[in-house]
């Protein structure tokens, strides 16, 4: 097998990151292979959770929830996607910088929708 890691390059960049968020980032770099908190069992549990949530959302769609149909369906979708992101995509175990990235992207996306709706809602 080839040698595992050429650290020559990382040596100079990783030790000198400064902002608090990056400190944690570094810690996660150094024990890269030690952060596998999730094993086969966890993944299968998450999968079972996702399937159950799908069953719930389909079942709920059959019931008339008046104005809440879309909101419940979207709430369940948000729970499902956060499960996928946190466990399957490892965000829960990754460096905080990734969480910040996601937060920034989502905030900007939400702002786009909100500002568009300032037009739509108040149109005469």
């Amino acid at each position: 097998m080839p040698d595992t890691k050429n650290t020559e390059h990382l040596n100079y960049s990783e030790k000198n990151f400064d902002p608090p968020t990056e400190e944690d980032f570094l810690n996660s770099l150094s024990d890269k292979n030690a952060h596998q908190e999730a094993g086969f069992g966890t993944y299968i549990l998450i999968w079972l959770g996702l399937i159950s949530l799908t069953a719930i959302t389909v079942a709920l769609a059959g019931i008339n929830l008046a104005g809440l149909t879309v909101i419940t369906a979207l709430a369940i979708a948000i729970i499902k996607s956060s499960l996928v992101a946190n466990y399957f995509m490892h965000i829960k175990f990754d460096a905080p910088i990734f969480k910040i990235f996601i937060a920034v992207s989502l905030i900007i996306f939400v702002l786009m929708i909100v500002l568009t709706f300032f037009d739509l809602i108040f149109r005469n």
Partner: protein, 210 residues
């Protein structure tokens, strides 16, 4: 600072590997993908606001069973790809390959399902310019316009994801991805999960709002 005559280029030919950097690049790309669909979600939200009744009515024309089956297929494929990565990390190469094949199989069955769903709609004249859509409300035309654009773009992403995973399968097979070097496989996994997450939102918005 430096003795120029010691500037030896050959020594500087460095082929470093930066796993975290590679992962960060992948995530940044995922945000791009997210916002690509984001534009469509903004349109969906706006038109649903404008044509609420028509959207609810049009949604009843979609087949809930196909949608649910496809959701379960994609969720399961998300599980299999993450298990494939875990297997590789634990150095179970054969198990990894098995899970990769399962993922690809699930991805293909999603596409086949989608194909039959689209074909059924198109046979009923439910496509842009089709007989059924021409005689219906504007809201319904928009609903199906969005339905085809969004699920179509999603299907393209499924195909792209499958191509990545097939390439990864061959890399794993050739021992080019292994227990301490699996970032490419992990990146493909991230992409596949994104495709899954987008479907998690498409499913209720099109199939469950009636």
């Amino acid at each position: 600072m430096t003795e120029p005559d010691t500037l030896n280029i050959v020594n500087q030919e460095h082929t470093h590997r930066d796993d975290i950097g590679s992962k960060m690049g992948m995530w940044l790309f995922l945000f791009t993908e997210l916002l690509l669909f984001g534009g469509l979600f903004i349109l969906y939200a706006s038109y649903r606001f404008m044509y609420k009744e028509e959207f609810i009515y049009a949604a009843t024309k979609l087949d809930l069973l196909t949608g649910t089956v496809n959701t379960i297929i994609l969720l399961t494929s998300s599980l299999t790809i993450v298990l494939a990565i875990l297997s590789l990390q634990k150095n179970y190469k054969k198990l990894c390959l098995l899970f990769l094949f399962l993922t690809v199989a699930l991805g293909f069955s999603f596409l086949i399902n989608k194909y039959f769903e689209w074909r059924a709609k198109i046979e009923h004249g439910l496509f842009p310019g089709g007989s059924e859509l021409l005689n219906t409300s504007k809201g319904e035309t928009i609903f199906f316009g969005l339905y085809y654009s969004m699920t179509g773009l999603h299907a393209l992403h499924v195909i792209a994801g499958l191509i990545f995973i097939l390439i990864m399968t061959s890399l794993v097979y050739k021992n080019l991805q292994y227990n301490t070097n699996y970032q490419k496989l992990e990146n493909s996994g991230l992409y596949w999960h994104l495709v899954d997450i987008i479907w998690i939102f498409l499913f209720p918005l099109f199939y469950l709002i009636h």
